[in-house]
Symmetry: C2
């Protein structure tokens, strides 16, 4: 199962998501993922962001760790998918403030 309709977030996850969103580069990455209907190739992101592979890898791990993206491995390639349900759960939570 890739994306549940409703995501429930722990306080810890809230914090991880907030931190993940706080970096402009990651925000940019998320925006790009959002423009894809489905999955998005790692190299695709790398090509449009002028960033070293190492730094990109670091950011993608942060996003994955926050639960904001899903990671699919295909041989030596990696694809990402935005977890809209998680993002929405975060927004819902902030909206309750």
């Amino acid at each position: 199962m890739i994306a549940a309709k409703r995501a429930t977030l722990t306080d810890r996850q809230i914090s991880l998501i907030a931190k993940a969103l706080a970096d402009p580069r990651r925000y940019e990455i998320l925006q790009k993922l959002g423009r894809y209907k489905d999955l998005c190739a790692c190299s695709d992101i790398k090509n449009c962001l002028s960033i070293t592979p190492a730094t990109l890898s670091h950011h993608m791990k942060e996003l994955e760790n926050a639960g904001l993206i899903d990671v699919q491995r295909e041989g030596k390639f990696v694809n990402y998918t935005l977890r809209r349900d998680v993002l929405q759960a975060y927004l819902d939570r902030l909206g309750k403030i």
Copy 2:
């Protein structure tokens, strides 16, 4: 004028807001402000957060700088108000991803 119905955010402000929200302490402060119908006294926050005045002052400045709160000075006291319109504008923006 205290709070416009609609706030428009620059990319810079988006970034400032995201960073402001990324600190757990500030998140807590915003939650507290949210529970107040109107304004909230600085000392009130200080009392329920076990934080030094210096650190609190720093955080409130970050929140103000991000546009998330309004600051009203009354003599030697300071009161804060949550800018729900700005927070909402931020959420709207993230929702568009």
